[in-house]
Amino acid sequence: MISLYTLILGIALLLIGIYAMLTRKNLMKIVIGFSIADTGTHIIIVSLGYLRGKTAPVIDAAVSVSNAVREVVDPVPSALVLTAIVIGLAVTAVMLSFIVEMYKKNKSLSIDDYQELKW
């Protein structure tokens, strides 16, 4: 069965992150919010693949090929989460680089100062 605690933790982080993105005015804090939400997502992914009492999906001395299916957690979410982390990192990096440029142009980190385009 999946791990309920980590699932709840993940969802909580996701919501906290989104809350931060919606309420913080500072661009940096918005990106931090995004990172938190992203991390929450990653935890949700991993917890979905987690099976209680099973070991890591690495076939070595501890886990033989023949009984691997019974002894390890689902390896696919773990593999997915690695990719997701990398992608999340890339998005965060681009966001931060935007903030740097925006600050250079407008000398402000408040999102309220960037609403010239509208309607």
């Binding site: 919606l22 979905l48 997701a84 925006m102 142009k105 509208k118 309607w119």
Partner: protein, 1040 residues
């Protein structure tokens, strides 16, 4: 066969190598860059050919040496190949467009661009949903970075909002992917079935689909996209609007089979809502690129809706609808964004600068027409079929919303177009001439749009080139446009004659022949007056021929679609002709809006109609069709818009008055008859299969009210052309009322009136054209006494107004005799009474016309004026000869009309020699003529004898308390001629209808302005929209 995986491999590897190539020089890296893009297009083109034409099976690529689901697999079928071919082509063209930027900017843009292209190709082909997420992110990240190709505060802030929105959407998508995996146990779409997801499993599908849907910018969770469209470089925006949207839309299409129908309906509705609101808000938009953004978002909404609402219909039709809408959006939207980048004027009001570059203006028009769903472009065919599907599946709410949304879109697009053609741009900096790399993609897409539409027409019509003739005419005249105007005029005259000769054997029914005479012969005679044109009149004859050929094609159209196609060609060409008038910006726009609303109604009406079993012309085969009531109602309204019935007439006076003076005769005398022709078509269906509700009773009343309202308004005009325009409205009201009787005599009189009106109104408009040509004014009180200077024109006007007014001896008398007899035998006494009153009113405006222009004293400035040129006089007298002929020998026309009407009813008149007998009495046109001539001769001789006793008074010899009026003409009786009547009856002619439509326009714009306030410009608000959107969608879908 080269595996499509090389697209991914090459794009990625060359992308990474580019920074090394760049060390060797930008030429080197640019060559590699463009080679890869070209390779992609060529490869996909090859695959498209194999899959679609040679029918090779769908190509599956298993990566890493394993079969799916262990490995990730990619699939390339016809749909994928088509989408990718077009997406890569647009990608290549956008890159060509961006050539200057790429040559001078950083190499990283090139790398990002290749990554973007790879993301698009991967997203479309992959069958693995996690892989989809990866490609989506590659696509998004490279797009985020590319938004700052032009780096300024606007692009940065727009890009940041885009990232926040995109980032959250992909987070939800990732969650969806994992939950789907949790429930389905696989990531591969090929191994998932809808029944793996039930209960809580639906949340997984919900997350997956709704997050993709958010990426497709649904209203109102799309503010970020609008900011991006407005600010980012046009080349990149074209990629975002077209290529990215296509790929993400296709990803959505791939997961659609998994979704339960409640989800699909909700998404479809959300698409429709997006389409409607985007276009409504577009009404208020003044920034060119943001306007295009609204339009893009709307189009994507429509495309998504069409994906959903066409599920389960015949695949060929489905692909036609989706493919047509997609292609139309792709070509025209990319083209328009590129043009926006070239023009550089942000405000659409300033787009008059585009006139410096005629070819670009033509392309602009072409894309606008395509986007508005006008023929022959792909969107026209798609819209026609989509409406049919919506009608068949009884989705009337969706249908209505789509049509109103389309009308909004047409309004802002055409307003923009008329601004570009007409708005004053003298004070603006002239547009710089664009380089080859900028003009090439625009032209290429323009040509492609034309070729595709030609292909679509081929596939609909095979070898029936007649249907294509209106377009061929435009192309042909464009080729010879450098010839002098007169030469083109004679060529056009010959073309019309040749077309008539070719058409003649095809007109097997009498009714076709009759309208053939009005449409073709009438046009040919009217064409003579255009020979007076001195300047080059570029484009004029092309549109004129297009319109004339469309008239003719209406007669022989054998299916609803052919009829509608010719109808739309007619609308488009007449719009372009009206737009040529000097101050016709507003008039032509209003004409287009009303015509299109009418056309939509006609489209809906035909969609309700049962299939035709015969291959004969529609006007003949319609009598075997059992039209449902709803068809009768909407078609009647649609046709009455074209014939200028009261309530929807406001386009008419403006369009007639503001068109060039030699175009007005065509519009009044011939174009209005197309509406009559449509009503007659409906009447024929009514005769054989009348619905339970008597539609034509009400049509008759509308005709009667139109007749009297038009007559009243004509009486109070100072502008000669407006007077004639309202008179046309009134006269066509008579025709409609007579038609609506659905009796033998009613139809004889309606057709008689139609023919008569064609002749005298042509003659009158050409006469006024001649007067305008000499006096340069249309205000009647600025003329006067022209009888001595322009006697030939005077004779025309005199004869014509006698023919209009219905006094003996001319043809109008016969018309009146017929129509009142018809009304009395039908038992419509009240209607007859009102029309009788209207005839009285028409004396007012006819008298005004001849009195103020020709009688009284000659104005000083007109002392030396000459008679109108021969090119104006000749057609007038041809028409006069026609009027005289049917006045003297009414049998010439009564007999054929009797034969036409006898086809549908028992005859109610006998013709004995020169006498026509009805049950109420008889009429001998010949005799009447002789009697009246004698009556005329006696006072004429008396007047001649008394002539010497008149006393001449100097003009304006009036004293105003030691003051001379500044504009003495206004003191003359000719100005505000019926002031006393205006006081007593003027309230009847107040522009109430005009005010009503103005307030409709005002309200739509205000609503648009109200709704677009949701786009506050704040990134967090946009994010909140997205979150709320997801919650609302969840509530909607969960509720079902």
């Amino acid at each position: 066969m080269v595996s499509p995986i090389y697209i991914l491999i090459l794009s990625l590897s060359v992308g990474f190598l580019l920074s090394i190539f760049d060390r060797a020089g930008r030429k080197f890296s640019l060559t590699a860059f463009y080679s890869v893009l070209t390779f992609n297009v060529a490869l996909m083109g090859d695959w498209l050919y194999r899959l679609a034409v040679l029918h090779v099976p769908t190509f599956v690529i298993n990566t890493a040496g394993f079969n799916a689901p262990v490995s990730i697999n990619l699939e390339l079928g016809v749909a994928e190949a088509l989408v990718l071919f077009l997406a890569n082509l647009t990608g290549l063209m956008a890159a060509v467009y961006l050539f200057d930027k790429f040559r001078e900017g950083k190499v990283s843009s090139l790398i990002l661009y290749l990554l973007l292209v790879m993301g698009v190709n991967g997203l479309v082909m992959t069958q693995d949903i996690f892989n989809m997420f990866v490609f989506l992110e590659i696509l998004s990240i490279s797009t985020f970075a590319l938004t700052t190709l032009k780096k300024n505060l606007k692009t940065l802030s727009a890009g940041f909002k885009y990232m926040i929105a995109g980032g959250v959407a992909s987070t939800f998508f990732l969650l969806g992917v994992v939950f789907v995996y949790y429930f389905a146990g696989t990531l591969n779409l090929g191994f998932m079935t809808a029944d793996q997801f039930s209960g809580i499993g639906l949340i997984a599908l919900f997350l997956l689909s709704v997050s993709l849907f958010i990426e497709l910018k649904p209203f109102p969770a799309n503010g970020w996209a609008l900011d991006v469209y407005q600010s980012v470089d046009s080349g990149i925006v074209s990629v975002i609007a077209v290529v990215n949207s296509a790929a993400i839309g296709f990803a959505f299409y791939k997961i659609m089979p998994l979704l339960p129908s409640s989800f699909l309906t909700a998404f479809g509705m959300a698409g429709i809502v997006t389409f409607f609101f985007s276009n409504m808000m577009g009404l208020k938009q003044e920034n060119a690129k943001r306007l295009l953004g609204y339009s893009s978002i709307g189009q994507m909404g429509l495309l998504l809706a069409s994906l959903v609402f066409t599920i389960g219909i015949e695949p060929a039709v489905r692909y036609l609808i989706i493919g047509g809408l997609f292609l139309n959006h792709l070509l025209s939207k990319a083209g328009l964004f590129w043009i926006a980048g070239i023009v550089k004027e942000e405000k659409i009001r300033n787009w008059g600068v585009l006139r410096n570059n005629k070819p670009l203006l033509v392309l602009f028009g072409l894309f606008i027409f395509a986007l508005s769903g006008l023929p022959p472009f792909a969107g026209f065919w798609a819209k026609w079929e989509f409406v049919k599907v919506l009608v068949d599946s009884k989705m009337f709410f969706v249908l209505g919303t789509v049509l109103v949304g389309s009308l909004f879109e047409l309004i802002f697009l055409f307003r923009w177009f008329t601004m570009a053609v007409k708005e004053n741009a003298d004070e603006l900096e002239p547009m710089a001439s664009p380089g080859f790399s900028r003009i090439f993609p625009v032209s290429f897409f323009g040509i492609l749009a034309a070729v595709v539409s030609f292909g679509a027409m081929r596939c609909f019509y095979g070898s029936n080139w007649l249907q294509v003739l209106p377009v061929i005419a435009v192309l042909f005249i464009t080729l010879i446009d450098s010839l002098p105007s007169k030469v083109k005029g004679f060529i056009s005259l010959a073309a019309v004659a040749g077309y008539g000769y070719y058409l003649y054997p095809l007109l097997t029914g009498n009714i076709q022949l009759f309208f053939g005479v009005i449409f073709i012969a009438g046009s040919a005679v009217n064409l003579i007056s255009t020979l007076n044109r001195k300047n080059q009149s570029k484009g004029f004859y092309g549109f004129l021929l297009m319109m004339i050929f469309s008239f003719g094609n209406l007669l022989i159209a054998s299916t609803y679609l052919e009829f509608f196609l010719s109808w739309e060609f007619m609308t488009l060409s007449s719009f372009l002709l009206i737009l040529r008038g000097q101050n016709a910006q507003r008039a032509s726009l209003m004409y287009m809006i009303f015509s299109t609303a009418g056309a939509y109604l006609i489209m809906v009406g035909f969609s309700f109609a049962p299939a035709l079993s015969s291959t004969a012309a529609l006007i003949l085969s319609i009598q075997d069709v059992n039209l449902p009531l709803i068809s009768f109602i909407v078609l009647a309204i649609g046709f009455m818009i074209k014939s200028g019935s009261v309530g929807v007439h406001i386009w008419l006076p403006e369009a007639h008055a503001e068109a060039e003076s030699d175009v007005s005769p065509f519009i009044s005398a011939i174009l209005l008859k197309a509406g009559v022709f449509g009503l007659l078509l409906l009447g024929i269906a009514y005769v054989s299969n009348a619905p339970s509700f008597d539609v034509f009773y009400w049509v008759g009343w509308i005709g009667v009210i139109t007749a009297i309202a038009g007559a009243f308004m004509a009486s109070f005009q100072e502008d000669a052309k407006k007077l004639l325009a309202y008179s046309s409205m009134s006269q066509v009201g008579y025709i409609v009322a007579a038609l609506a009787m659905i009796t033998h005599l009613g139809w004889v009189s309606a057709l008689y009136l139609a023919f008569n009106h064609m002749m005298f109104k042509s003659a009158l408009f050409i006469a006024v054209a001649g007067i305008y040509y000499r006096t340069r004014t249309r205000k009647m009180y600025e003329m006067g006494g022209l009888i001595s200077r322009m006697p030939w024109t005077y004779m025309t006007v005199l004869m014509s107004i006698i023919a209009v007014s219905g006094v003996p001896p001319l043809s109008g008398f016969g018309a009146k005799w017929l129509i009142y007899t018809a009304f009395i035998t039908k038992g419509w006494y009240l209607q007859a009474g009102v029309l009788f009153f209207a005839s009285g009113v028409s004396f007012l405006y006819l008298y005004r016309l001849i009195h103020t222009i020709f009688l009284g004293q000659l104005k000083y400035e007109h002392q030396e004026i000459k008679e109108a040129p021969a090119w104006f006089i000749i057609p007038q007298y041809i028409f006069l000869a026609g009027i005289m002929a049917i006045s003297m020998f009414p049998n010439l026309i009564i007999k054929p009309l009797n034969a036409i009407a006898m086809h549908y009813f028992d005859s109610s008149i006998q013709i004995d020699g020169l006498t026509v007998m009805s049950e109420l009495g008889y009429w001998n046109g010949n005799l009447v003529m002789y009697v009246t001539m004698a009556v005329f001769a006696i006072p004429f001789i008396m007047l001649l004898l008394l002539k010497g006793k008149t006393q001449k008074v100097k003009q304006f010899n009036i004293v105003y308390a030691a003051e001379r009026p500044e504009s003495p003409q206004t003191t003359h009786v000719a100005h505000n001629m019926y002031a006393h009547l205006r006081k007593s009856l003027g309230s009847l002619s107040l522009p109430r209808v005009q005010e009503f439509w103005n307030s409709v326009a005002e309200w739509s714009h205000t609503l648009g302005a109200f709704f677009r306030r949701v786009y506050t410009g704040n990134g967090q608000t946009y994010l909140l929209h997205i979150i709320l959107y997801i919650v609302v969608m969840y509530a909607v879908m969960g509720g079902q």
